[in-house]
Amino acid sequence: MSAPFRVERRLDCPAWLNWAIPVGAVATALLAGAVLLFFLGVSPLAAYTAMFRGALGDAWGLSETIVKAIPLTLAGLAVGLSFTMVVWNIGAEGQLVMGALAAVAVVRYAFVDSAPVMFFLMFVAAALAGGLWAGFAGFLKARWSVNEIITTLMMNYIAILLTEYFIYGPWRDPSSLGFPMTAPFPAAARLAVLGGTRVHVGLILAIFLALLFRVLYRWTRWGFELRVIGNNANAARYAGMDYMKNVLLAMFVSGAVAGIAGMIEVAGLQGRIQPGFSAGYGYTAIIVAWLARLNPVGTVFVSFLLGALLVGGDTLQVVMRLPLASVQVLQGLILFCVLGGEFFRNYRIVPVGKGE
């Protein structure tokens, strides 16, 4: 006896599936999360209501969601760029940390009072630090085909330990009463905030870069080469596209954007580095990029959604006393469901006997 349905390859994907799949995936993941919460003895309805209220229910929650969406957008664009050419930069977290460290270094060692000059210096230093951090892995891949997944990931650990070295050691704020953190940034090194909220001008930069990436992919020669290499590396080689150059460049730009995310987070929001200042943005960015299907404009919207999830997780921690790890579980579930959902983009299930 055979199954009453069979799986058939789609010739083309209907447009409605492009939004139905991500929405369905997130809904399914939340449902799976609800089952898990139930077994933990927590009312799923109460938990999700608390999360929703915390993240989107009032002006404060909304501004916090946007504040978290800013680094997520930038890091999501960063990893999306490398994923487009099927190079796996898993190291956005480390590159972000390096960018933040570079910003702190600029504040420590460059004595300028002018905010624009300071911003420029921090921007360049963070982009260089993140870019070189990722570019090193890119170089190893381009030159000796060293697996970039592992090198970028190992460099995350190294970057975080490097931060610990500085904040427990030479860069520790002498007036912090022994707490491991750097000295607060002077006013000239802080980004302007919008209105009376915590939302800073990083938001404008993130949206601007998303649009810039859109133009890059759609209308420039380099964007075209990235896409061709991603679709078919052999075809790209026959067409004379330089794989090594493109890997290096893509990794550098990807790392640079992640580094800027780190600088923006420190200069716009926290004003100093302390342990765990990143909240795993570099890893969440991988979900962002995948959920947005590497589309730069989509990245902005998905970042908002996952930013809301992070803020909701904070609320859950306070209201329900659930560890922050519950957000990580939900993130994993979302990624599972998105991956499963991709199947329906390429295949459809039809009852046996029809369409023969």
């Binding site: 390859r9 933990l40 796996w88 898993i90 190893l140 000796w144 085909s145 060293v146 697996n147 997944i149 592992i150 090198t151 990931l153 190992m154 460099m155 650990y157 190294i158 330990l161 490097l162 610990e164 070295y165 427990y168 050691g169 890893y283 991988i286 979900i287 995948w290 659930l322 560890p323 790890a325 519950s326 957000v327 990580q328 579980v329 939900l330 993130q331 994993g332 579930l333 990624l335 599972f336 991956l339 499963g340 991709e342 199947f343 390429n346």
Partner: protein, 309 residues
């Protein structure tokens, strides 16, 4: 030599969790499935092994539960990658996120608890051999089991009919399919076996090595195992050398710290990660440009029975 013996002995012990995960990943990758979820699987194994030991009071039962959990969670990876043809890199990352999160979420209640784990059981007679005895035969039973496993897998992969099938599934799944064997079933099986080994490696950390549970206690060992599969060119014996090398670095680093040093701790802690990159670069240069020798040809590619390649 007197100074080296304790370091070498410690290298074996702290290399064993990495070794189990590496051996599991070799099997999974030989079958053509890339599982980057080792870190998450190890953490789930560490947590579930610890909690089951605490509840039942029996560390062996704890290890068995860990293996079961590892197999179940890696079945998700198999389902997404083998049945749904999903991207194996992203699915593996999802397993790691899920495993890291779930172990921390459920493990919150177990932080600071203690258990009676599995202790050292020297092998009679063999432990009396000078140098080799204390280095290799003065450990817990799981270390000895890993020696046997390395030998068994070398034989299994290279010289048995099953091993031939395993290699064929990773090199040319269509040929295996033509021979009337079930590619999907084989890939599921080896992904789940590999996941079970990874979880066992994690459980070794919590039930045998430290006998406690700490969030994120694997500290990147799962990723090091992924790197060691490449470094060991998919060979169990070479993987064992690699694992003990990393175990040795870990042991050495603890000793340097204990001896009192001016080198700040974070810089010392970087060693294994720097070494991982170094060994990967070394093996990649050695193999020249292009594809590494030993990498299964169909690694990472889904197999669709009804479609042409």
């Amino acid at each position: 030599m007197e100074i080296l013996v304790p370091i070498l002995s410690a290298a074996i012990r702290s290399g064993t969790p990495i070794l189990y995960a590496t051996l599991g990943e070799i099997l999974t990758e030989k079958a053509g499935v890339l599982n980057l979820g080792l870190e998450g699987l190890m953490l789930l194994g560490a947590f579930s092994g610890f909690s089951a030991t605490m509840v039942t009071g029996n560390p062996w039962l704890g290890l068995a539960v860990a293996v079961l959990v590892g197999m179940l969670v890696s079945a998700i990876h198999a389902f997404l990658c083998v049945s749904m043809g999903a991207n194996q890199v992203v699915s593996g990352l999802a397993i790691t996120m899920f495993g890291t999160g779930l172990s921390a979420l459920l493990g919150k209640a177990y932080v600071g608890e203690t258990i009676r784990g599995i202790g050292v059981m020297p092998v009679p007679l063999l432990e009396k051999i000078p140098i080799l005895g204390p280095v290799f035969f003065n450990h817990d039973p799981l270390v000895y089991a890993s020696y046997l496993l390395v030998g068994f897998l070398c034989w299994f992969i290279a010289s048995t009919r099953w091993g031939l099938t395993l290699r064929a599934v990773g090199e040319n799944p269509r040929a295996v399919d033509s021979a009337g064997l079930n590619v999907t079933l084989l890939r599921y099986a080896y992904t789940m076996i590999g996941g079970g080994f990874a979880a066992l490696g994690g459980a070794y950390l919590s039930v045998v090595y430290t006998q406690m549970w700490v969030e994120m206690m694997t500290a990147g060992r799962g990723w090091i195992a992924v790197a060691l599969v490449i470094f060991g060119i998919w060979n169990p014996l070479r993987a064992a050398f690699g694992s003990y090398l990393f175990g040795g670095v870990g042991a050495l680093q603890l000793r340097i710290q204990a001896a009192g040093t001016t080198i700040p701790a974070p810089l010392l802690l970087m060693l294994p990660y720097v070494l991982t990159i170094a060994v990967l670069v070394a093996i990649s240069i050695k193999k020249g440009k292009g594809i590494l020798l030993g990498a299964p040809a169909a690694l990472g590619q889904p197999f669709h029975r009804e479609e042409r390649d």
